[in-house]
């Protein structure tokens, strides 16, 4: 095939590969934030899941056990965040940040204690990973799952009873409460769904995209996913588009690494590394999100009759 077809296809393929964790986190964050719970902890849950999945896969040589472990850990952390925000009515941003920090340290502490490899898990054999599948265009199962997750999330939020109540509880929780539906239970379910999504995202990072866990491997992607969600105005399809945009940028940037530009000379590798973060800031700057956010987001629910 001619170069001008192959190159874009490769870029598209790379985009999907890079965007998958973003898409998964964004969909998870979508449920949580639409219910009114800010989730800055996407990063931490993803990192914890990455570690758990890699550790479990290394010990059992099974990718599916790894996936289960990843989802379990992320769900547990999601419950913790939920407990702090819903039952304890804490500051939701502080809770998310706390969990991120604990996870960042804990994954290394346990990594060293259990595997003695400076924080990494041992490299994984193919049977312990999600390997590329030919008829999926060389992508693995999780990429496909992420792509399916987008319309599924959209449908769940817009076309089901649960979704209607979810949207309502993020705007006017008192209305939901007065209608006889438990605000707390709705939000716990939303937060748990977020846990499942981030669990899959973390699992993807350590046992699908790569062959093991290394410290801080999420590198801020959880925050970028949150930014994509904000830019996408808390709706599934636009958020997905934003995630693809980030993925595309990353994919192009990786190809550009090492090339020379006429006047400037060789593009520094740090500039390439910085691009996703800079783009996040630029997108957030160009966009005024406050007007469209779920109205009750970030406000702990307390009955004030």
């Amino acid at each position: 095939m001619p170069e001008w077809i192959v190159a874009p296809l490769l870029v598209l393929s790379a985009t999907l590969r890079v965007a998958t964790p973003l898409v998964l986190c964004a969909m998870g964050g979508l449920f949580s934030e639409r219910s009114g719970i800010i989730d800055v902890g996407l990063e931490g849950k993803m990192l914890a899941a990455a570690f758990a999945a890699a550790a479990a896969a290394a010990v059992t040589d099974s990718a599916w056990v790894g996936l289960a472990a990843g989802i379990a850990i992320a769900a547990l952390l999601a419950l913790l965040h939920g407990f702090a925000c819903i039952t304890q009515r804490a500051d939701q941003v502080v809770s998310g940040v706390a969990i991120n920090i604990v996870v960042a340290g804990l994954t290394v502490v346990f990594g060293i204690a259990w595997f003695q490899q400076g924080g990494q898990t041992p490299p994984l054999p193919p049977e312990a990973r999600f390997m590329p599948i030919a008829w999926l265009g060389g992508h693995n199962l999780i990429v496909a799952a992420a792509l399916l997750g987008v319309p599924l999330s959209h449908w769940a939020i817009m076309r089901t009873r649960f979704g209607l109540r979810l949207r309502a509880v993020g705007d006017v929780p008192l209305a939901v409460d007065a209608a006889g539906v438990s605000v707390a239970w709705l939000r716990y379910r939303a937060v748990l769904i977020c846990g499942v999504f981030t669990g899959v995202a973390g699992t993807y990072l350590s046992i699908a995209q790569n062959a093991g866990f290394s410290r801080d491997m999420t590198a801020g992607q959880g925050y970028i996913a949150l930014a994509a969600l904000i830019v996408g105005k808390w709706r599934a399809l636009p958020a997905f588009g934003a995630c693809l945009a980030f993925g595309l940028l990353d994919a192009i940037a990786i190809r550009l690494q090492g090339t020379r530009i006429a006047v400037v000379g060789e593009i520094p590798v740090q500039l390439i590394q910085v691009l996703p973060y800079a783009l996040t800031v630029i997108l957030l700057a160009g966009f005024i999100g406050k007007a469209v956010a779920p109205r009750a987001i970030g406000v702990p629910y307390e009955k004030t009759p």
Partner: protein
């Protein structure tokens, strides 16, 4: 920051007992983790305590680390008073160090210490402030979520430092990414040297003059927040942005001001590290102080006095943690990061977990003296 409506506890409980209980909870959980990593927690505590306070040198190190926590803790606390969560302390600290280092490297052959050092300190403040001003501006005028932008700026700062140290500032002929040493005229004297000058002998440690600067900053922040009209306006904004508008307070400008001051304070970490200890520009000198600042501010209830006390605690954790990592190879300094996170979790997110027990425990000793009408009025 959203705070739930609660029946008020007496101040000595709210500001004293409750934070202590929360820290103890965090440390207990940390103890469990240490146990899971195969180390006896009691042993670990003993090693940490001795490591932090067991000798003059240890105390010196503890206070040196505490100095950095004071700077980032004040930074976070001041921003919290304006209702803003500044997570960018680490990036602002890097930029502050860059500023101080650039001035020192640029002028150490030209200017005398009496001019150079204040200039370098001012540069640290300026660079730190500038790095916080951009997210601040974006939050104030574009509504960009400050938590996301400051974290992005942390990543960008780290990359910037690597680029500069590897490509621009690297000492000629050096293999590792660091600059040449700054001239003696730009170096802050160590406290043990100063004390020797007045006849007191203490063991050498990195503790330097910037510790005095940290103490001064505590006082300055207190004065600013509670004894100036701008500090008043900042606190109004933090409690109630609508009331701020009503009072004619420029919300945008006050937000940016708060973050600039916050960034400047965080930037002073660079004064301690670059001018006081490392005497050259290096990588990663601010690692962990950003998040530690959040923990310190939370335990210290955002008050400069509390920040100072909490900083000593965290300095002890850092120094004790280094000893711990030395004695037990299966525990690294990452354990300190875990403790920081747990403290933030228990003092920030789960701060009111034990409140019902505390309220019950002290109820027999305290009468609710609040006006009865006040509680009845719901409208």
């Amino acid at each position: 920051m959203a705070a739930a409506r609660r029946r008020p506890l007496p101040i000595w409980v709210d500001a004293g007992l409750l934070p202590v209980v929360n820290v103890l909870l965090a440390l207990s959980v940390a103890g469990l983790i240490v146990l899971a990593a195969g180390v006896d927690p009691i042993d670990a505590v003993r090693v940490m305590l001795v490591g932090a306070f067991g000798s003059e040198e240890a105390v010196g190190y503890t206070l040196y680390y505490a100095t950095n926590f004071v700077f980032t803790g004040l930074a976070v606390a001041l921003a919290f008073h304006a209702g803003l969560f500044n997570i960018g302390g680490e990036g602002q600290a890097y930029l502050g160090g860059l500023g101080a280092g650039l001035v020192a490297l640029g002028f150490d052959r030209i200017l005398p210490a009496a001019i150079l050092i204040p200039l370098a300190v001012a540069a640290a403040a300026g660079f730190g402030a500038a790095w916080a001003a951009i997210p601040g501006y974006l939050q104030a005028y574009r509504g960009s979520h400050i938590v996301v932008t400051t974290i992005m700026f942390n990543f960008i700062a780290a990359a910037l430092m690597v680029y500069l140290l590897v490509n621009v500032l690297i000492a000629p002929g050096s293999m590792s990414p660091e600059s040449r040493e700054i001239g003696a005229v730009a170096q802050l004297p160590a406290l043990h040297v100063l004390l020797r000058g007045i006849g007191l002998t203490v063991a050498p440690s990195p503790l330097n003059l910037s510790a005095v600067w940290a103490a001064l900053c505590c006082v300055a922040v207190w004065l600013f927040l509670w004894r100036t009209p701008r500090g008043y306006e900042l606190r109004v904004l933090g409690h109630n942005a609508d009331a701020a508008r009503y009072a004619g307070i420029d919300v945008g400008r006050t937000t940016v001001l708060a973050l600039c001051l916050s960034g400047a304070l965080a930037g002073f970490v660079g004064v301690n590290e670059i001018l006081g200890v490392q005497h050259r520009l290096i990588l990663d000198f601010a690692a962990g102080y950003g998040f530690g600042g959040i923990a310190v501010a939370l335990i210290g209830r955002n008050h400069p006095a509390g920040v100072a006390l909490a900083s000593i605690l965290f300095g002890a954790l850092y120094q004790g943690g280094a000893e711990l990592a030395f004695d037990f190879p299966s525990i690294t300094r990452d354990m300190v990061v875990v403790i920081q996170g747990l403290v933030i979790l228990f003092s920030g997110a789960l701060a009111n977990l034990v409140r019902p027990w505390l309220e019950a425990a002290i109820a027999p000793f305290v009468r609710d003296a609040r006006g009865v009408d006040a509680i009845a009025e719901e409208s």
